[in-house]
């Protein structure tokens, strides 16, 4: 029982961070029909911004983190939209898929060549103490990760549902043409989506790197998990990405503990295939009537 509780908490903590990446992925898909195959690399990169800040420029950790978030928004949000997505959108989905694959490759190789091919230790943000609840060892780091991720996602949800800008963004996501007619600045709303994605990627990167070490190849697994979380939960809902992320985090840890460590990576993949066959709209997603 104690072991089970322990597995659940650390699974939820990892899952909440996956959910951050998945939410960004979902938002981009909704706003611009762009499937970002570089999403994993987007989560890999900001940790290196922090490391460059603390290592090369000797900044205090919190300054480096703030700077990394700002740079992520500029590079992964605004520059990505202006330089890659915008010129390619008129050509349809496929060239954009290829371009994001190439972009992911470029980011991965750049980090490997210009920083290091080795995994880098990343400073933890929260105290590394462990406390006991019902005999289960729960780490403060896990609980804090879970809380921060949930707060960010809830805040985002509030922003999208309550604020005027957020509602305009949702209108844009559902039907850009109608939103335009209703006086929504569609271009600006799409840009906001990219900015939010850059921000979420930065937060996810900073939360997860103390566990995984900052490594150029982290994007491979993270990207795949973000995909799967987004699809499992439901591609057209933020709630879906959250459910998908948490579910994968927990299942992954359960599989590693009770099934087989060798095949733990197979669990999300099988989950994905099953979901697509049984419930293609995702667990909490709704079917879209958008066709032709």
């Amino acid at each position: 029982m104690a072991e089970f509780l322990q597995i659940m908490i650390s699974g939820l903590a990892a899952g909440a961070v996956y959910a951050l990446a998945a939410v960004g992925f979902t938002l981009l898909w909704q706003a611009s029909q762009a499937i970002n195959f570089a999403q994993g690399e987007f989560v890999m990169l900001p940790a290196f911004f922090v490391l460059i800040g603390t290592g090369y420029f000797g900044l205090p950790l919190w300054v480096a983190i703030l700077l990394a978030i700002v740079i992520s928004i500029l590079v992964l949000g605004i520059a990505f939209k202006k330089l890659v997505v915008e010129p390619m959108l008129p050509h349809g989905t496929l060239p954009l898929v290829i371009a994001t694959i190439a972009l992911g490759l470029l980011m991965k190789e750049s980090v490997k060549e210009f920083y290091s091919a080795q995994g880098q230790p990343f400073p933890p943000l929260f105290p590394q103490t462990v406390f006991e609840v019902f005999g289960a060892a729960i780490s403060v780091q896990d609980v804090c990760n879970l809380l921060v991720s949930l707060l960010v996602i809830l805040g985002l949800q509030m922003f999208l549902q309550r604020s005027r800008t957020g509602r305009s963004m949702q209108a844009t996501a559902q039907n850009p043409a109608v939103a335009e007619i209703l006086g929504v600045d569609v271009k600006k709303m799409v840009m906001y989506t990219f900015i939010i994605n850059g921000f979420l990627a930065a937060i996810a990167s900073i939360l997860i790197s103390p566990f995984y070490l900052a490594k150029f190849s982290n994007g491979e697994t993270l990207g795949l998990i973000a995909f799967i979380a987004a699809i499992v939960g439901g591609f057209n809902q933020i709630r879906g990405a959250l459910v998908g992320g948490l579910l994968i985090g927990v299942l992954d840890n359960l599989a590693a503990a009770y099934v087989s460590a060798q095949y733990r990576a197979a669990v999300p993949l099988i989950l994905l295939i099953v979901i697509i066959m049984v419930r293609p709209q995702g667990l909490v997603g709704t079917t879209e009537g958008r066709a032709v």
């Binding site: 972009l103 995909f227 993949l269």
Partner: protein
């Protein structure tokens, strides 16, 4: 087929026959792997360029082909039977995988194949009793046909070339058959194709399964070529590489994947002076190419050619007269 086209095909075959003469073994090996990847990319082009579906599992199908062929030839069965088994098993797996994915919505195939590739990799690595795990399989024999041996690199090149020409011929036949026209109709406008009485789902599934079978064929040739296979050669990244081949060359153009494979296989040799930066240079080139010409190099070439050959506007004499009045 016009006479000009037949002459061009014959000339290309002559060039391919003469290519390995007086070259180093390594160069001949690079040529062989170009032809092998061309076959796999050609199959993917059918799925992607003609039927309009993104598949991210072509490397997994190459892997299935390579492992089936290796296990059978290592057990003493002739390559001819092994290649038959490889191609049919990939065709069957393609059908099983594509059926549920295409039943839902088009981009789901991309995700299902992505997951499938990752699963195949895990199985190849973990099932050591069958696949040798991460140590792989070694020493696949090179086939022999009625006394014609394929032991040396040049002999093997001609064997690969024959396979390549047969595969290209079959692909050309498929594309010019009513099926091929149906695939194209599907890509251009699935709804219109459907309204014309085409069973879009069945045609797309067929295109995907045939494309996968070509991947199996490529794997079956790769096994005796490299004589050492391990799971890493068939990981997801290689599927992405195959996808890049098709798109960089020009998806939907018959020769596109062959050009794309040439670029992906030969470019590391040309960019050797950049040392570790090869992949970065390559990724940057793909990005720039996609921004300027999303239809790949063939699309770029066609547009350039059209601009050259487009008739110039001739000013009408009577207009000039009228203007001067």
């Amino acid at each position: 087929m016009s006479w000009l086209r037949i002459a061009a095909v014959l000339a290309a075959i002559v060039v391919l026959v003469l290519a390995p003469m007086g070259q180093t073994t390594y160069f001949v090996y690079v040529l062989c792997s170009w032809l092998v990847f061309s076959i796999a990319a050609m199959g993917l082009n059918l799925t992607l360029g003609y039927a309009g579906q993104v598949s991210l599992a072509q490397a997994a199908f190459m892997g299935i082909g390579a492992y089936v062929t290796s296990l059978m030839t290592l057990a003493g069965i002739h390559w001819i039977f092994a290649v038959f088994a490889s191609v049919t098993s990939c065709f069957a797996v393609g059908l099983i995988l594509g059926y549920p994915a295409l039943r839902v919505q088009h981009h789901f195939l991309a995700f299902v194949t992505l997951a499938f590739n990752a699963l195949v990799f895990l199985v190849l690595r973990n099932e050591e009793w069958l696949t040798g795990g991460s140590f792989g399989l070694v020493g696949m024999p090179r086939p022999e046909f009625l006394g014609f041996k394929t032991g040396t690199q040049t002999q093997f090149y001609y064997f690969v070339l024959v396979c390549f020409l047969i595969a290209t011929g079959i692909m050309a036949w498929i594309i010019h058959s009513p099926w091929g026209r149906a695939f194209k109709a599907l890509r251009e406008n699935p709804i219109r194709a459907n309204s014309l009485g085409l069973n879009t789902r069945r045609m797309t599934l067929l295109a995907f399964a045939i494309g996968s079978a070509f991947g199996g064929l490529a794997g079956a040739i790769q096994a005796p070529l490299v004589q050492f296979i391990e799971p890493g050669s068939f990981a997801l990244i290689h599927s992405l590489k195959l996808l890049l081949m098709v798109v960089v060359g020009g998806s939907g153009f018959f020769l596109g994947p062959i050009l794309g494979a040439a670029i992906v296989v030969l470019l590391p040799e040309l960019l050797r002076f950049t040392e570790g930066y090869y992949l970065m240079v390559y990724a940057l080139m793909v990005l720039v190419l996609m921004v300027f010409s999303p239809t790949g190099l063939f699309g770029l070439g066609t547009r350039f050619w059209q601009r050259l050959t487009r008739p110039k506007q001739v000013e009408r004499g009577d207009l000039k007269q009228g203007a001067s009045l």
